[in-house]
């Protein structure tokens, strides 16, 4: 699967040094802006935060997938962060988070293939083997290599 259109070196943060969830979000939104997916950072961040208010995106097993649909997004994109230290995310299982995927989706429905890739990654996160490999990723090449296998 070709994930390179969705994420690149600018949006892969290994490791990411942050002190809490909010700081993590801001850093990842900045990364998505750098990679060219997000054009209006505050609008997109607001969408992500609003989504978070309806229920935590910490899906458990140490993984969080904050996401937002906003007009501040120009094309579908993905940011990845491996946190330097485990961070509290109000997760469903109460455990802290060490891996974060941030998903950006434009307001107007864009090409389905990008969405399909995002969906495939989301599905894959349920697979324990895949998660273990994800936790073991050391740099951006390894991550992209792992995502290509989906």
């Amino acid at each position: 699967m070709n994930v390179s259109e969705l994420l690149n070196k600018q949006s892969i943060l290994i490791p990411l040094e942050i002190s809490d969830k909010t700081e993590c979000m801001q850093a990842m939104v900045d990364a998505l802006a750098l990679s060219g997916c997000v054009t209006d950072k505050s609008a997109y961040l607001e969408a992500v935060m609003n989504r978070e208010k309806t229920g935590s995106t910490g899906i458990g097993f140490g993984v969080a997938i904050p996401h937002g649909k906003s007009a501040g997004v120009s094309k579908p994109g993905l940011a990845f962060a491996k946190l330097a230290k485990q961070t509290d995310w109000d997760s469903l299982d109460g455990e802290p988070v060490s891996v974060v995927f941030m998903i950006a989706v434009p307001e107007a429905a864009a090409g389905n293939e990008h969405l399909q890739i995002l969906i495939a990654i989301s599905r894959k996160l349920i697979d324990e083997d895949f998660r273990n490999k994800l936790f073991a990723v050391q740099d951006s090449e390894e991550l992209i290599g792992l995502l290509q296998t989906i």
Partner: protein, 460 residues
């Protein structure tokens, strides 16, 4: 083996919908349960559950934060949770679904057939158009009727004093609100059929129905005529693009209004006048010798079209007799004109399931209109379900009319309802005649009317 079906959905539709689906599939595989998951996400509905699969399923899991068309699972046991719950505890959800009491499969099939029938009857054109018209008209009937009733409270002929408050109330209620009733009914029926281009011809057709005395039945005819005509013109007239703009504001309203109007005046108007005249003549020829038969007839006529030609023939006949000092038919006519709204009010209490929420609320006002001899209070009910309501109210009114004649009740005032009841002699037997007619009407309605379709339950 028990089969489970599930639906997952979330607002953004890229992450939770699919993780929830994946979690459920995985858990089902571990437990060796057959499970199908429909996902409703950003790329649309995938793996959609068929009716066949719903029928075969033991239970349904809904893990969603948005609408998933839940009504299609009516009659099935449903475990409904937030989408996150399916990621957190998929096994627990499947266990819960397996432990649900399975519904009787025939129950579900019945439910499906029933809701299909309801849907088609609710959605198909004419009924929907009729309901649009009735619901636009209803507030006019209630507001106008209640204002007339208030005017009567000052005395049944207090409105004859020009410039007085009762006079103003009567002008508002009868002169304006009731005058708008049939045009609005027709206008909104046509609007529902043809959208905006239908409104003008519908309103005009309804106004003409009102003026030629064709009543609400004439109004319904005018509304459908104008609506379908406008719709047909909209689809048929083809113009060069630079003239296309003329179509909705000039051509359709002009042609549809002209044709509807001409048909109302020449094709509907003449027969209506003829019916009214010949009915009046016929009543005169019957005379007052056979009191019971006359009471039955007058009663049934009062209820038949409430303000239309048949009703007017009966009413004018009775008013005409006042001049020749015959007061019996007037009493019968008034009693028979009171029972339709009263009977409908009683029926909304006896069989609430057979009326819409709007009708149940309207029922209370109908009671006030009924005791005030404002028969129009029954029109919204009759217009929305004519073939069941009109026969019911006719029977009730006929019984009341006949009883009033048998009891020898007399009335010298041509209107006023409860505000002139003290003029009636004998008052208690007269009240009894009205009560019996009301009960008969309500019983007829509870037997004839079908339960209203259930409102479809919306999701989160």
């Amino acid at each position: 083996m028990k089969k489970i079906i599930a639906v997952t959905a979330c607002p953004t539709g890229v992450a939770h919908t699919y993780m929830a689906a994946e979690s459920l599939v995985k858990a089902a595989k571990d437990k060796q349960i057959e499970l199908k998951v429909e996902t409703r996400g950003a790329v649309g509905v995938e793996n959609e559950i068929t009716e066949q699969e719903i029928a075969e399923a033991h239970a349904v899991i809904i893990a969603a934060d948005t609408d998933v068309l839940e009504s299609r699972f009516q009659g099935k046991p449903v475990v409904k949770v937030r989408v996150a719950q399916a990621i957190k505890d998929p096994k627990g959800l499947i266990d819960q679904a397996l432990n649900m009491q399975a519904s009787d499969p025939t129950d579900y099939l019945k439910q499906v057939n029933k809701s299909k029938a309801e849907r088609s009857s609710a959605r198909t054109g004419p009924y929907k158009h009729l309901m649009t018209g009735v619901s636009a008209m209803l507030p006019l009937v209630i507001a106008g009727g209640l204002l007339i009733a208030i005017s009567f409270m000052f005395g049944y002929d207090a409105f004859k004093v020009e410039g007085s408050l009762p006079d103003a109330l009567m002008r508002i209620g009868n002169g304006a609100a009731f005058a708008l009733m049939v045009p609005i009914l027709a206008g909104f029926i046509a609007f529902s059929i043809a959208e905006k281009p239908g409104l003008a011809p519908g309103l005009v057709g309804g106004m003409l129905a009102s003026q030629i005395g064709a009543g609400f039945i004439g109004g319904i005819a005018a509304g459908f005529l104008a609506g379908y005509l406008a719709k047909w013109l909209k689809n048929t007239i083809k113009l060069p693009r630079n003239l296309e703009g003329l179509k909705p504001i000039l051509l359709i309203p002009l042609i549809a209004t002209a044709i509807t109007g001409l048909l109302m005046v020449f094709v509907i108007g003449e027969p209506v006048k003829f019916i009214m005249d010949s009915l009046t003549e016929w009543l005169k020829s019957l005379g007052t010798t056979n009191a019971i038969l006359l009471g039955l007839l007058l009663g049934a006529m009062m209820a038949f079209d409430m303000g239309g030609p048949v009703n007017k023939a009966a009413y004018t006949f009775a008013v005409g007799l006042l001049a020749s000092n015959q007061f019996g038919p007037m009493a019968a006519v008034m009693a028979a004109g009171m029972t339709p709204p009263l009977g409908l009010w009683l029926a909304t209490l006896l069989a609430p399931k057979k009326f819409t929420q709007e009708e149940r609320d309207g029922g209370k006002s109908a009671a006030v209109l009924g005791i005030s001899f404002i028969t129009e209070g029954a029109i919204p009910f009759a217009a929305s379900d004519p073939f069941r309501v009109i026969p019911s109210i006719m029977v009730g009114s006929a019984v009341t009319g006949a009883l009033s004649m048998v009891f020898g009740a007399t009335l010298r005032a041509p209107h006023g309802g409860i505000f002139v009841v003290w003029l009636v002699n004998p008052i208690w037997l007269y009240a009894l005649a009205i009560i019996i007619g009301t009960v008969v009407t309500a019983l007829m309605l509870t037997i004839l009317k079908k339960p209203v379709k259930q409102e479809l339950a919306g999701g989160v």
